[in-house]
């Protein structure tokens, strides 16, 4: 099926929040902290504008609790006198003219009595830097399997490595934006978001309003990648506060720089590996420490850390594993959800480390992976028995065959010594990603979904899942039409409006097709049951039955309902991090071929092959697009994207100096799917959105290692870093 909203996007007719027709409204703007940490001693309003024309909101205007609630109440909506990161919101302004609102921002001076900021997450803070708990540790987690200390002591070879990754900005092409207005006594929020019910959850305590008094509607969303998971709650709250105070509609649209410097990013990380292996390359012990920069507020950091440590040992079997995870408070912009959610950091380290081990053993890195790759019946670090029937070696073999790995490798060995300044290399990464929420997370979400049969026999899916480019509207249409035997044109997907649709959970974590899609199928079945027609009956009969039901029940609604039920046999011990972390894993292998220019230290990716098991592929074009887009973000995280920091502020908040790839910077990304259906996912689907990003960076860096004979350990591997690495020798 073709992307349902595709034509309206291609022709420019799709209306995003900033495209909605609106009259008599105010433009909102956000005054932010200039300092990373300190007490606000004064706010000076300059005389360049007439302040009587402005609506001004500060923390005292917040009717309820001053917090953007998701996991904790720690992050203020507006700083109440003390700031903890640069660009923390302090005041809100609104004016009928956008130009005047922007001018006013330049007229306000927030004066901060600066305290020393904690800016390095890698070292434990001195006493003057402590601001969270005893030692700025936001969260500690641990996984223990076997006896690592003993096993390391008995290992003939121990290989150590330290791997670091930088912050990454989402750069969704549509910036954050919200519209807020009062409809009677209901506060209506419309805007760009992944999770309408997260916005409701944040607004209720802050505005002291009930769910009935807050209506959140998602508008077509121009990219999310996790950046519109939790952050839109902040923008919505700000727009809402301005609308409540002014009693006028308020539009709050971030410009690119504000969006880049002030919103969440991917957590920077430092991961240490100490690995015991025998001479044949068999893993004996893995000791791993994952440290992440959480930034100034909690956001979703504990969950990101959790996903990171669960995946940190890679897709290998090892009897002795110790993984310690620690997320640190710093006075940086809060880090948050970003496609992969901790797993890209974990896999950058472990998949880079596997090549380092292979190098030490003088062994083929593919062979090292083959020997240790988890087989059915073996267990992950949390003790989860893998028994999904997926042929992981087949995935690796397919990626090697498609990329012509062996032949290229031999060609490079011949070619590299002959060329004056170009070095080619080919590298691979094998990896996995748990789909859906971790452990008992899906049970706690308690997702619900309705499928409504209308009097004319047409059907509408009511859910809070959102379309942000990944194809949710198309996939849900397909699933409902297949299940009911309907023409897709007779299926509609309701606008995500919290006053109309049930809470089917957030659109995150590669859960939508697999988990919520399964609810679509089950709600369709329930609709058939209620309409009195056999499940699986031809569409014409289902339609007839729906029409007949309405004749017999005039004025009533015919709703097929489904509520999440966990697959049988899943057990997770949240206290000890033992058990079945995920119902299903997607498995994949990437192969990257690169060319390094020793004159410029530029790394060019010449070829990229991705083989993925995402269960049943529901829509080939959409699935391929997910993989290619994820890989592109992973390649550019590895090579291009660097947040430059100065005193806690991102200095390069523009697309001219924060570089994301153009078409010219990327090779064609060649994708193949190997399908191992998952019986509890919709039509056998598993998660797809995050998996492809996870292994891209290590594949690229392993190729650089093959090309240069050096072992890079840090990304982004900018030309400057590569130059230092090649000049200084191994590190």
């Amino acid at each position: 099926m073709l992307r349902r909203e595709g034509l309206s996007k291609l022709t420019g007719r799709e209306r995003y929040v900033d495209d909605l027709p609106l009259e008599d409204f105010l433009w909102g703007a956000t005054v932010r902290s200039p300092a990373a940490r300190g007490r606000i001693s004064d706010i000076i309003f300059g005389d360049g504008v007439d302040w009587s024309e402005f609506v001004i909101v500060d923390h005292t205007d917040i009717p309820g609790r001053n917090a953007v609630y998701l996991m904790e109440y720690d992050q203020p909506a507006l700083a109440p006198g003390y700031v903890r990161h640069v660009h923390e919101p302090v005041l809100l302004l609104a004016h009928p003219s956008r130009e005047m609102a922007r001018r006013a921002l330049r007229e306000v001076q927030v004066i901060v009595d600066v305290d020393p900021p904690a800016l390095d997450f890698r070292t434990l803070p001195g006493p003057d830097l402590i601001q969270y708990g005893e030692n700025n540790v936001l969260k500690r987690l641990s996984i223990q399997k076997g006896d690592v200390e003993r096993a390391l002591g008995e290992s003939p070879i121990v290989v150590e490595g330290v791997y670091e990754t930088g912050a990454q900005e989402h750069v969704y092409l549509e910036t954050q934006g919200m519209l807020a207005y009062l409809d009677g006594e209901v506060l209506v929020i419309k805007g760009s978001m992944q999770c309408p019910y997260y916005v409701v959850k944040a607004l209720k305590p802050a505005l002291n309003r009930s769910e009935e008094e807050i209506q959140v509607i998602q508008t077509p969303t121009g990219g999310g990648f996790g950046g519109k998971e939790e952050f839109p709650s902040m923008v919505a709250l700000h727009a809402g506060l301005l609308a409540l105070k002014s009693r006028m509609p308020v539009k709050l649209i971030y410009d690119r720089t504000e969006d880049m410097v002030a919103t969440t990013k991917r957590h920077p990380s430092q991961v240490r590996h100490r690995t015991g292996v025998d001479e044949n390359g068999r893993l004996i012990a893995q000791e791993i420490e994952v440290v992440m920069d959480g930034g100034a507020y909690l956001t979703l950091t504990p969950v990101v850390l959790s996903r990171a440590i669960i995946h940190a040992a890679g897709l290998y079997h090892c009897d002795n594993v110790s993984i310690l995870g620690r997320a640190m408070f710093t006075n940086s912009v809060p880090y948050g959800a970003f496609r992969g959610f901790g797993n890209p950091q974990a896999h950058f380290a472990v998949e880079r480390h596997m090549d380092v081990i292979a190098d030490r053993l003088r062994m083929d890195p593919v062979e090292l992976r083959r020997i240790n790759m988890i087989r059915d019946g073996q267990t992950t670090a949390t003790g989860q028995v893998i028994s999904d029937g997926v042929d992981r070696l087949q995935i690796v073999d397919r990626a090697l065959a498609l990329s012509d790995y062996e032949r290229r490798r031999r060609e490079h060995w011949v070619r590299n010594p002959e060329h004056r300044y170009l070095r080619r290399g080919i590298g691979m990464a094998a990896f996995y990603h748990g789909a859906g929420f971790t452990g008992s997370g899906e049970v706690m979400l308690d997702s619900r979904l309705h499928v409504e049969g209308n009097p004319d026999g047409k059907v509408q899916v009511l859910c809070a899942s959102t379309e942000m480019g990944q194809g949710q509207v198309t996939i849900f249409t397909q699933l409902a039409s297949d299940r009911l035997g309907y023409d897709p044109a007779e299926i509609s997907i309701a606008e995500p409006d919290t006053h109309r649709v049930p809470d089917s959970g957030p659109t995150v974590g590669s859960r939508t097709a697999m988990v919520v899609g399964r609810l679509v199928e089950r709600a369709c079945d329930d609709l058939c049951r209620k309409a009195g027609v056999e499940i699986g009956a031809p569409g014409a009969l289902v339609k007839e039955a729906i029409i007949a039901w309405h004749s017999a029940h005039p004025g009533e609604r015919l709703l097929g309902k489904a509520r999440y039920e966990p697959p049988p046999g899943i057990e997770w011990d949240e206290e000890n991090y033992v058990g079945d972390a995920y119902g299903a894993f997607g498995w994949a292998a990437h192969v990257a071929e690169v060319e390094v220019d020793l004159r410029t230290y530029d790394v060019r990716v010449l070829d990229f092959v991705s083989v993925q098991d995402v269960g049943t592929v529901l829509n080939e074009t959409l699935a391929r697009g997910q993989v290619q887009g994820g890989v592109a973000q992973g390649i550019s995280w590895a090579l291009l994207e660097e947040c430059v920091w100065k005193d806690g502020a991102m200095e390069n908040g523009q697309l001219t100096n924060y570089i994301i790839p153009t078409s010219g910077d990327l090779p064609p990304i060649r994708v193949e799917f190997v399908e191992f259906p998952y019986e509890h996912g919709a039509q056998g689907a598993k998660g797809i959105g995050e998996l492809p990003l996870v292994g891209a960076a290590p594949a690229v860096l392993n190729a650089v290692a093959a090309a240069t004979g050096r072992q890079p350990t840090e990304i982004p591997l900018t030309p400057e870093r590569l130059m230092a690495l090649l000049a200084n020798g191994d590190r």
Binding site: L2, R3, E5, G6, L7, K9, L10, T11, G12, R13, E14, R15, Y16, D18, D19, P21, E99, H170, V171, Y172, L173, E174, P220, T221, G222, G223, G224, F225, D255, R256, M468, G469, Q470, G471, T621, L622, R624, G625, Q628, G629, G630, V631, A632, Q633, Q654, L655, T656, I660, T662, S663, G664, D665, L666, P668, I669
Partner: protein
């Protein structure tokens, strides 16, 4: 108090084939004029500094970033936006995954259509090179390039 620098300027130009007359302020961008005053919201703002191409329109037939064009400069000229394109021509883009989130898409399609109308450029450049002025964060560009290649083959055959 006015020294005339902020006085509105009256301009006439051709917008999507229609004669158009408006008053603009000296600092007004073509992008804002189109989006907020003329209701042509198909043209998107992505970066406001000529880097991403989401705001691409044709000015006298050439693709330009409308965020960098002062509105008064279009006086007497031809401006064409995404709204002027024939939806019939979108089939290949639709089928091959050219659009995902859609925020870069109108700009991408404007550049793509310009390539289709200027095939001689393909003698010296690849589609991949010609598309390097439009940033997309969703597709990894393969869906865009394949969509254009499909349209090229189709219109050659037609």
């Amino acid at each position: 108090m006015s020294d005339g620098r902020d006085d509105p300027i009256r301009i006439s130009f051709t917008l999507n084939g229609e004669p158009t007359t408006v008053e603009v302020s000296p600092s007004e961008r073509l992008l804002d004029l189109l989006r907020y005053r003329l209701g042509l919201t198909g043209t998107k703002e992505g970066c406001a500094e000529g880097e991403c191409g989401a705001c691409t329109v044709y000015l006298d037939g050439l693709p330009v970033d409308s965020c960098l064009v002062p509105a008064y400069q279009v006086r007497g000229r031809l401006v064409e936006t995404i709204e002027s394109l024939d939806p019939e021509g979108m089939a290949h883009y639709h089928a091959r995954g050219t659009t995902q989130c859609g925020a870069c898409t109108p700009g991408v399609v404007m550049t793509a259509e310009w390539i289709l109308r200027h095939r001689d450029r393909l003698e010296t450049h690849t589609v991949r090179e010609l598309m390097a002025g439009n940033l997309c964060r969703c597709t990894g560009y393969d869906g865009i390039i394949e969509g254009i290649e499909g349209a090229l083959e189709d219109r050659e055959a037609g």
